[in-house]
């Protein structure tokens, strides 16, 4: 664990080439000046209202996600490899989703166990046989990448339902350019600010057939959702309406929004509401966030939902171990980005291997996300480990286990000064008429010393992510 790969310094302490310029600049800054900049960042984030709501606290409680002013820098050649790997992976995942909800060739070929799909709560039988525009299901994918060992990149998980965080990628960059304009004059950092345009173009490209000038909206659960800021931000940046379920209605299988001048047709819904809440007539009847009749309009091909319903079957942690096989099956290519080796506790021998090594593993529930409900063996007490063992034994198929990766570290401001902290990376992959990736992503950082959990719900912070242009 001590030998984590550091993004900035090699093991002999020498600064890596792509950080040299930054390091020279940083060592010329006084601690006081940097302290002022950090305070300014805090103040601006609060004034701008870049906050997230914390579940379990009083409604309306807003918090800042801690922002660290030291950027995570990715050299150009590494990014090119990452980008190729991401394109390949997301292409295969979309082909898998199309296959699962149509001919199911991959199941018949025995590459993915059929019962893993059909007995999975993330599989949506309502989607079977429905043709979605362009055959695209995961229009917006957030792929979590970690770096371990000697510096290899691994995919930790795919987020294909309603991945969030892209607004922080954009706001963090804006903040850095405001705080340190001189840095951007001396480093060739690839811009990210055009993401909303690319997103809008992407969403328009998957409008229902025959719609020439599609109306796009962003559907939010409302202002008390943890990611509300992002929903409002993206709608504003794209120049489209931010709607709630109550603003929409379905008539004759077409979706309309209620406006001051009467109903207006809606063609593409970038929805940030989970499947379960989308249509109370089909899914959860108690949902007030959705739109009655939406699924019928969707099935009739009169509206596009991005992402499609049922994408959870491809990013479920029990399906994750099969993604490299999907790439080989659909694309006849070798995966460019590796998976983290994963024990599937549903298999007896892998369960036993897991149970024998619990103190060294990370164990996750297959349907959970956000860092909730997982066991980090090396950071847990014996009692916690034994408690978790009992949970695994009760329902082994609900768990997967992975070695505890020594996530790479990046220098980060902490109370005691600058110290290495573990980071991950979430680039955003947009799929429509073509695949687009804005060079960058969200770097999350675990602020507690030694912690490997980067989720903002668990005390993680963020950094600006620089992809160098050369």
């Amino acid at each position: 664990m001590t030998a984590a790969f550091d993004e900035m310094r090699a093991s002999d302490g020498a600064v890596r080439p792509h950080y040299r310029d930054y390091d020279a600049w940083l060592s010329a800054q006084s601690p006081k000046a940097m302290g002022d900049k950090r305070a300014e960042a805090d103040l601006v984030f609060r004034r701008v209202g870049i906050t997230f709501a914390v579940y379990g606290e009083a409604a309306g409680t807003e918090r800042l996600i801690p922002f660290d002013v030291i950027p995570r820098i990715i050299p150009a050649d590494e990014w090119r490899q990452l980008e190729a790997g991401l394109r390949q992976r997301v292409r295969a995942l979309n082909m898998f989703l199309n296959d699962v909800y149509h001919g199911q060739e991959i199941l018949r070929a025995g590459k993915v166990p059929a019962e893993l799909i059909f007995r999975n709560s993330q599989y949506r039988p309502e989607m079977q046989g429905i043709d979605v525009a362009g055959g695209i299901y995961a229009h917006i994918a957030g792929i979590d990448i970690v770096r371990a060992g000697a510096g290899e990149y691994f995919v930790l998980e795919d987020n294909l339902r309603v991945p969030s965080g892209v607004s922080y990628m954009l706001e963090n960059r804006k903040m850095m350019m405001r705080l340190f304009p001189d840095l951007f004059a001396r480093n060739r950092v690839a811009p990210v600010a055009h993401y909303p345009d690319v997103l809008l173009e992407n969403l328009r490209s998957v409008a229902p057939q025959g719609v020439t000038d599609p109306v796009v909206v962003v559907l939010t659960p409302g202002m008390y959702n943890s990611a509300y800021f992002e929903h409002a931000f993206l709608a504003q940046q794209m120049g489209v309406e931010l709607v709630e379920g109550q603003d929409l209605f379905v008539q004759d299988n077409a979706v309309f929004m209620r406006t001051t001048r009467g109903p207006q047709r809606v063609d593409v819904i970038y929805r940030r509401v989970d499947d379960d809440f989308l249509d109370p007539l089909v899914f959860r009847a108690d949902s007030t966030l959705g739109v009655p009749g939406l699924l019928a309009a969707y099935r009739a091909g009169r509206v596009t939902l991005a992402n499609a319903i049922g994408t959870g079957i491809a990013d479920d942690k029990s399906v994750y171990p099969y993604v490299p096989d999907m790439i080989r099956f659909y694309l006849a290519e070798n995966p460019l980005l590796a998976n983290v080796p994963t024990y599937k506790c549903r298999n007896r021998d892998e369960l036993e291997a897991t149970l024998a090594r619990l103190p060294e593993l990370v164990v996750k529930e297959v349907h959970n996300a956000g860092g909730y409900g997982m066991l980090v063996g090396p950071a847990s007490t014996t009692a916690q480990i034994e408690g978790y063992r009992a949970r695994i034994l009760k329902d082994p198929a609900n768990f997967v286990a992975q070695p505890t990766l020594a996530l790479s570290t990046c220098p980060t401001y902490v109370d005691a000064g600058i110290a290495p902290r573990h980071v991950d990376l979430r680039p955003y992959v947009l799929s429509g008429a073509e695949i687009s990736i804005v060079p960058g992503g969200l770097t999350r950082v675990a602020l507690r010393e030694g912690s490997l959990v980067v989720n903002s719900s668990q005390g993680g912070g963020t950094k600006d992510t620089w992809v160098l242009e050369r």
Partner: protein
Amino acid sequence: MLSRTADHLFWMARYMERAENTARMLDVNMSTSLLPQSAESAERGWRAMLGISELTPAFDARYPLLSARDVLDFMVRDPTNPSSIYACMHAARENARAVRGSLTTEVWETHNDTWLNLQQLINDGLLESDPQRLFEWVKYRTHVSRGVTIGTMLKDEAFFFIRLGTFLERADNTARILDVKFHDTGGASELLPAGRGNGVGHQQRDFYYWAAVLRSVSAFEVYRKVYRDVITPERVAELLILRGDMPRSLAACINEVCDNLEKVRNSRSGETERRAGLLRAELRYGRIEDILHQGLHGYLTGFLERVNDIGGRISQDFLVPLAAS
């Protein structure tokens, strides 16, 4: 635009305007309470503040006795009083947050910043140490919020609904401020003939009283400029009711309401426009003698009902989601 969005914008503006007018009223009452007067008359002044805002029952339910301190506390910083400055600014900010994407970044940040600063000022005890500075600050922040709206927003529906909210609320508030005398004397005194003398000679008292009303709507200097004469109640009423060029007068507010209504007109708003237009015509061609002959309190009460009716109709026409027709 979305009906829900329009609704949030409309109410964002109304709450901001209400916060401002509450600050204006309280500010002026603080100043006049410094004049030599009996304790009862000072208490009547504070009670009038509650009366204007229809807060007397809520206040009495909470406080057994009336003191200036408690009235200020209740009307400025009490989060459970939905009309307090604190609650209004919070509501304005929450409405803004619900539609922040429809506002320019500057408008949103202004509302958010105002709200963050207000909490800070209240926590720092500014209401206790220097209430009039707090009122100045509230006025200043509402000026900023209007200014940034006019200075940065596209003149489209979003802007028109904000303006509608501002002027409908201001019409209501100015009418209430004008009616303060009625509340001050518990209804015993109408504008003409003037009220009883008490300590200070009643003519002199009247001067201070009407000067205070003028100051509360930033009209004291305007009055001097327009009339170049001593302050008389008739002219104060004329200035604040009928003068279309006086920015906080009823006529000016209703003009703006009509202009903005016309710009957002839809298939069902005809009757609302007609009623607003009728009110505008009456203000344009009305005479102050007739209004005073009818009785100022009666006139203002009728006016408030009509403003309320127009507000309700705007909700029905635009803001309550329009179902498929």
